[in-house]
Symmetry: C2
Subunit: 330 residues, 2 copies
């Protein structure tokens, strides 16, 4: 099943069911008016939406309209918890090598970062960047959305609470990030609003891309200003989603709507398959030549993130957005 | 005006108006069914609740019932953003001296920590502590609740968006905290569910305690198992609320319901007025004697946090809770 939230001027938007080919949509109300309502009461409400989805794909029995990702908000326009992992150790290793960072990780314990979830940005909305001097960057990632998950649930029980999969651009401001990382208390100014792809999908929509090892075996295709930038594969994640979630739930409940991101997708063959963020490419340049030539985000930059299934069709739709100067009151 | 959220079995509870003396309450519906609904639409809905509050205090014109803090959830049982500051440098200085920590702060930039907001705990609910070996601790703090605050708002504009004041016990697990602080990515396992006081109040309820300097000039009275533990005053905060909020809003919007905590209240005269957390008392012991004698939280410990106004009456009601063993499925 594929779902999206259209902008209707309200904070939580309007939930719609989207056809597998992303061409059509139908209203999810009265089964569920918003994604938050659905995720809180998934078992009762999802079957009704699945029926709508099947009718929509068959092209009969349900009113529908053209799905326009430009009208989409993030599938959850806001939620009550967002945690981003750094689950591809390869990325951290490249960064630590290039910048001689001394990150004191504990072997076996994944890096998880608590993040804000009050104001996500739409997938095709212009993105207001406060300042070019902040060394703006993107990070192409996968994420999962959780139903209620009790404290101390083991990995398999956590994985069983995954309801939806999404993609995101975890916009990052590197000028703040290094300062905040050194300080130890996580990210505040380093992480402005996060942007999720237009469509959230149930794991079965990934087919064999939803691996039995609890990882996503699909490529995150990133382009900058129409030029290929990278297509790293999610399969090299160093922990499964269940393992990441169990660490997060060690001593607290995760309530419905919790989003867990993977961290920027990164592969050991990064020099061939490319990266999903500027910082990693810049770090590889620095390791090779002593300097970085790829520029950070500039106003006017257009970024696109998309994942294709085995059939070559877009699974989540594309994040396709421009970075623009911030204007107060705009 | 004073407001609380009673547990009605729903995730966001039921909003009630509470009398100034905390003895009576009246239903806030149909003006606002939940605190979230109120904070999103404050200007339209607050006047109606203010009228109910005045009638309730006068003891006429409105149906009411006895207010029982044991039935209260956190005033916002969940929200979309919770950020906790470490705004009393005195506390950090003591910790750094005792444990030879090298925290790389940038002078002038306050420490802010992004936190989870999906599952707050009620003020009198038994608190399930996963393990005594986690070195459990409490932190008595003040917090403010925000209306929508646009990106890049200056301190005065941020302060003008403060709608409510609360108290909290920011439960902390020190065994995880030092490990996570060293790693740099903020707190995950170090911070289980947070507990807010039963009643949220508009700033005017603090009287002269709501200082013209944007700080709270009131004592956070903490007792452990019925014994005085400390009563540090909020006036020594090293930044005003407006300054803290402006740093947070530097490059992102803060949406309605955002909670900003002060960090554990701490005074330079800590040896006389006491502390609002165990770690600070233990650190002072270590500085003096080379060792710490005050134990971390043990199962069965009962903690109480309360703030009295100039008239000696409780402003927010008390957080008064016991720490109990965690039982899966309980």
């Amino acid at each position: 099943m594929k779902l999206a939230t259209l902008n209707n001027g309200r904070r939580d938007g309007r939930l719609v069911v989207v056809s597998r080919d992303l061409r059509h949509a139908t209203d999810a109300a009265p089964v569920a008016a918003t994604m938050q309502q659905l995720i809180e009461d998934w078992d009762a409400r999802a079957p009704g939406l699945q029926s709508l989805y099947e009718m929509l794909n068959a092209g009969r029995g349900v009113e529908h309209f053209a799905f326009d990702p430009a009208q989409a908000m993030s599938p959850l326009p806001r939620t009550h918890q967002f945690v981003d992992a750094s689950a591809f150790l390869n990325h951290g290793n490249i960064m630590e090598e290039a910048y001689k960072l001394d990150v004191k990780k504990t072997p076996g314990i994944p890096v998880l970062v608590q993040r804000q979830s009050d104001d996500f940005c739409g997938p095709c909305d212009d993105y207001p960047l406060h300042s070019e001097a902040d060394n703006g960057d993107f990070e192409g990632e996968f994420a999962v959305v959780m139903a209620d998950t009790p404290m101390a649930s083991p990995p398999e029980a956590c994985a069983a609470q995954i309801r939806l999969v999404m993609i995101l651009n975890d916009v990052s401001l590197r000028a703040h990030l290094f300062r905040e990382l050194q300080m130890g208390f996580g990210f505040i100014n380093a992480k402005p609003a996060t942007v999720f792809g237009p469509v959230a999908v149930t794991p079965d929509e990934l087919g064999e891309g939803w691996g039995a090892d609890g990882r996503i075996h699909l490529e995150m295709r990133v382009s900058r200003n129409g030029q290929w930038f990278g297509h790293p594969n999610g399969r090299e994640m160093d922990w499964s989603f269940g393992e990441l979630l169990a660490r997060l739930a060690l001593n607290r409940n995760l309530r419905a709507g919790t989003i867990l991101g993977t961290g920027t997708v990164s592969n050991r063959a990064a020099r061939e398959v490319g990266s999903a963020c500027l910082a990693e490419k810049r770090a590889l340049e620095k390791i090779t030549t002593g300097d970085s030539s790829t520029p950070f985000l500039t106003w006017g930059d257009r970024l696109r993130f998309e994942v294709l299934g085995a059939d070559g069709q877009s699974i989540f739709g594309a994040i396709d957005h421009r970075f623009v100067p911030f204007k107060a009151g705009a």
